[in-house]
């Protein structure tokens, strides 16, 4: 069963897999998590702003994104982003957008919906007394949020945010549907070129498994440390 295994194909493609593939995956994960967090926080603030229209829009956005499968959203943005670019820059033709930019926009906007829900929970977990005290001190709304509420909400939610980032890391493999060479895409390219599906897919699975396992173990450690601190 394993006698025809060719480990050499993995060794030969290691450089390509990690320098091209993994770099793409990790950069995409990092930037998407950062962008998602920023947009997500804004959406959460819109939802909790108490203004009916803003809250309604933010709620709709979150519900819409969360009820669509990621693959469909990836396709949507892959075809939409050039037209959005055209509209933004006012040029006469759809803007040419690279694979990386397109998938980055997709993941930022998609993950923003998930991060928004996490940040909303975080903001709501802050006791009412905190913003009330900030207001009593004469801080404006933006000052209250920036110096009092958001730092605490963020700290409380760090483990959940990191867990969501691990999920995001796994989800980035779905850019495969656009034949973008992320880690899985690179593995599958080599696999199909050399006819070594078994070795390459098992190797990719092992790499994803190890990274996710180590990361979630780290999150668990962090969680217990934060729990003790409180």
């Amino acid at each position: 069963m394993f006698e025809s295994f060719d480990f050499d194909v993995i060794r030969r493609s290691l450089a390509y897999l990690f320098f091209d593939g993994m770099t793409f995956t990790l950069t995409l994960t990092g930037l998407a998590a950062l962008g998602g967090l920023i947009f997500g926080t804004l959406i959460a603030l819109m939802r909790l702003s108490g203004l009916p229209l803003l809250g309604r829009i933010a709620g709709l956005y979150v519900d819409l994104m969360r009820s669509l499968p990621l693959v469909l959203v990836i396709f949507w943005f892959y075809f939409l982003v050039p037209y959005i670019g055209q509209w933004l820059t006012g040029s006469s033709r759809p803007v040419r957008v690279g694979a990386f930019a397109s998938s980055l926009v997709t993941f930022v906007l998609f993950e923003a919906a998930y991060f928004a829900e996490i940040m909303r929970a975080g903001i709501q977990s802050i006791s009412k007394g905190q913003p009330a005290a900030a207001q009593a001190l004469g801080l404006t709304y933006s000052q209250t949020m920036r110096y009092i509420v958001l730092p605490q909400a963020f700290r409380n939610m760090v483990p959940v945010l990191l867990t969501q980032t691990i999920v995001l890391f796994q989800d980035t493999s779905l850019v495969y549907v656009l034949s973008i060479p992320d880690f899985l895409g690179a593995a599958s390219k080599v696999a199909q070129r050399d006819g070594r599906l078994v070795e390459m897919y098992l190797f990719a699975a092992a790499v994803y498994f190890i990274i996710s396992c180590v990361a979630s173990f780290g999150v668990r450690q962090l969680q217990s440390r934060i729990a003790v601190m409180r």
Binding site: S67, P69, F75, F79, S173, Y176, Y201, A205
Partner: protein
């Protein structure tokens, strides 16, 4: 064992898991079995159904564990005191309560199962997203095809959420946390 199962299925992207079931498994099995798997009609469908099923089972397992853990310890002790075996304790006392408690997270797991079926497009299964993609490729009507798929997904979501809410209300036990 349960821990290893859950960790195994949760720490790998669903896409990679599907690839392993679809491309790798037939090669690793004895030759005749592998051949049978490859020649099976509707192979992508069965692979996707089983692959996504296993993937989601690990997540539902976590939810159920949380549900059972959230029950007061006295329930299990009382069941033991009544002379129920472990299997009976779970079947008649703990699980019926735990399932009612985890109804809301179970609903969202159900929804994500529906969403995850779209990943099966990668092993050549023409499901809703795949159908929209094919439509778009034949006709170049990008927006119409994807809008139709989006609306269908939203409709299915609404139906599931409503059905689960009705079910939740129907099985709620008066006076308990879930039976507000």
């Amino acid at each position: 064992m349960g821990f290893a199962y859950v960790e195994f299925f949760r720490n790998m992207p669903l896409l990679v898991q599907l690839f392993i079931w679809f491309f790798v498994l037939p090669e690793l099995l004895p030759r005749s079995w592998g051949l049978w798997l490859k020649q099976m009609p509707h192979a992508p469908f069965y692979t996707a159904a089983i692959g996504i099923g296993l993937f989601m089972s690990a997540r539902v397992a976590e939810q159920t564990r949380a549900g059972i853990n959230s029950l007061p310890r006295g329930q299990k002790l009382a069941a033991t005191a009544l002379g129920l075996t472990t299997a009976q304790t779970y079947a008649y006392v703990l699980l019926p309560m735990a399932f009612r408690i985890i109804m809301p997270p179970l609903t969202s797991e159900f929804l994500s199962t529906i969403k995850n079926t779209s990943v099966a497009i990668t092993i050549g299964l023409i499901e809703l997203t795949g159908e929209a993609r094919a439509m778009q490729e034949f006709s170049f009507q990008v927006f119409e095809a994807f809008t139709a798929a989006t609306v269908l997904y939203l409709l299915v979501n609404i139906v599931v959420v409503t059905a689960m809410r009705v079910l939740e209300r129907a099985i709620a036990i008066a006076g308990y946390i879930t039976g507000k």
